[in-house]
Amino acid sequence: MEVRLEGLTKKFTDVVAVDNVSVVFPSGKLTGLLGPSGCGKSTTLFLLAGLYNPTEGKIFFGDEEVTEIPPEKRGIGLVFQNYALYPHMSVEKNIMFPLENMKMPKAEAKQIAYEMAKLVQIEELLDRKPKQLSGGQQQRVAIARALAKKPRVLLLDEPLSNLDARLRLQTREEIKRIQRETGITTIFVTHDQEEAMSISDQIIVMEKGIINQVDLPQKLYNDPINLFVAKFLGNPPINVVEAEIVNKVLVVNNKKTIKVDLPNQKVKLGFRPEDVRIDPNGPLEANIYMVEMVGRDTSILCTINNEKIRGIIDSEIEVNVGDNIKFDLRKQRFYLFEYNTGARLR
């Protein structure tokens, strides 16, 4: 079932946490809601859940408008940032709790709890209390509890943020698997771009309550709509250098570089570290101040007119600190952004 927001706004006393958001979460897909801390991700999720009432705007589940419908009637499953498992109930009781509310017979609820536990691979932990579980196991219990009542939409609020790096990798694949198996429309909140990229069918990038871009993960990376999205995605992050367009030529550090078909103006030039390619005839020039060997690749840290940039190059190429290098950009891949607003120039 598709979920749609229309002009959704949520104002708290002194902030607009969600600002006129219109977006579609496609049916049966996993959508990542990505943005920095405080950008309104949780608020959006709580609006979807019905725990907050929107100041303005509408929410649709399929064709049905649910804006005024209370949370208990929306048929959603929500996994909280810190799971919110009832500490005094066993894993089984936790998973059965929503079912018992639906007045389901005990035997049937038990059966479903077992099936859910099996789905998230915790069936041997049913008698434990949440405190006796690891973070990853707790998280799976929370997912099982949210899925048990067969919700129409599954909402996950930074479910991996309490896990260590390895468990995080493992569980995010797990979530992806469960989502595929159940085919349930899922919204996954995170501030970790890598996590969002690896797990999502579609990503929504938010900033200060506003949606910047909605796209496929790779598209977001290759074709950012503005400087914020460009900077937010990618690790190591994109290089940004001040530049100016003079007579259809991009001038960087007082040197003419690349031809561009844009009117004269100050701009910001962005390019990804992995697109840096050392080339004696290259149009760009930088000075190396640090060289890091990272396995197969070499990471060079350079300055262009006091602005720091990073390049990832083949380790076969010999470079030294203090070298002035010339370089080109692979496949001519670079981005120009309006100097003040950061909007992409094409």
Partner: protein
């Protein structure tokens, strides 16, 4: 290996408290126990004629003690559970409102800072047969007028007033403890319950009460102890501790102990000690039962 070799320092810091406890609690406790077995004990001289369980026999045979024991049990068994339930409901109510919370909290807290005797007087006005507000209000429903506290009051009526008083005066502390407990419960449990369409009563019974159970256990145990020691409540309401025609029929165990002490009879201190030990044992038994139940029920 890294153990602190200067452990004695810790005991030194504890010493003042320990010495005071020894002098004012441990020694009297021990002494009371010993005294309760002394025959013909003379308080002034400290003389006695050997040990026996005679005083215990006397206490158990005493009709006054039986009355006091019965009164204390009735009062405790009714007022403690009822006041805990009421305090729980009020705390949950207070915790769920935003406006007027501070104001209402103050109102519920008033009995805590009000003098017992003054409240006794206020109760005498409220429960007055002719013009008391209680009779006025129940009169609207065609009930009464009830005598409650006056010269013609029955035992049951008088006991009802004492129980109401005990419940009311014990609410503030309970509410305070429950409220502070409620405020430590993570809001997300309630949001999760709401999303899972949990009925309100089920949220209360299955989430609030279990998560509050350590507080409830603490309150239950201390309330039982307090109720068993009731004395001043009855005194402030019924100065002579009885209803008309039946003097002393409202007296409690502590009252009985106090009166046993008061008499100028030879060996009175020993009788009082014996009754105090009986009360001590009753409280111990109740506490042990609760500890046993709580061990199974309380979630930490």
């Amino acid at each position: 290996m890294f153990e602190n070799k200067h452990n004695w320092k810790g005991y030194l810091y504890l010493a003042p408290a320990l010495i005071l406890i020894l002098i004012f609690i441990i020694y009297p406790l021990f002494n009371t126990f010993l005294t309760s077995f002394k025959e013909n004990y003379q308080f002034m001289t400290g003389e006695y004629d050997g040990f026996s369980i005679q005083h215990y026999m006397d206490v158990f045979k005493s009709s006054k003690f039986k009355v006091a024991f019965k009164n204390t049990m009735i009062l405790t068994i009714i007022s403690v559970p009822v006041s805990i339930v009421i305090a729980l409901l009020i705390s949950v109510g207070l915790n769920s409102i935003k406006r007027l919370q501070g104001f209402l909290q103050t109102i519920f807290f008033l009995p805590y800072v009000t003098n017992v005797i003054a409240i006794g007087l206020v109760f005498q006005f409220m429960f007055n047969h002719n013009y008391g507000i209680i009779n006025t209000v129940i009169g609207w429903f065609g009930i009464g007028p009830v005598h409650w506290m006056d010269a013609y009051a029955s035992y049951g009526e008088a006991m009802a007033v004492i129980i109401i008083y005990s419940i009311w005066s014990s609410l503030p502390f309970k509410i305070m403890v429950f409220l502070s407990g409620l405020q430590t419960i993570d809001k997300q449990y309630y949001q999760a319950a709401q999303i899972d369409a949990t009925p309100k009563w089920r949220v209360f019974l299955r989430i609030t009460v279990p998560l509050l159970s350590p507080m409830i256990m603490y309150i239950t145990i201390t309330s039982f102890m307090g109720a068993f020691k009731t004395y001043e409540h009855v005194l402030s309401l019924f100065g002579d501790g009885g209803t008309a025609g039946d003097p002393g029929n409202l007296k409690t165990m502590v009252w009985y102990i106090y009166e046993a002490l008061d008499s100028s009879k030879k060996g009175s201190v020993a009788v009082a000690s014996a009754s105090a030990v009986v009360l001590f044992i009753v409280i111990m038994i109740f506490t042990a039962i609760q500890m046993y139940i709580n061990k199974k029920r309380v979630h930490y």
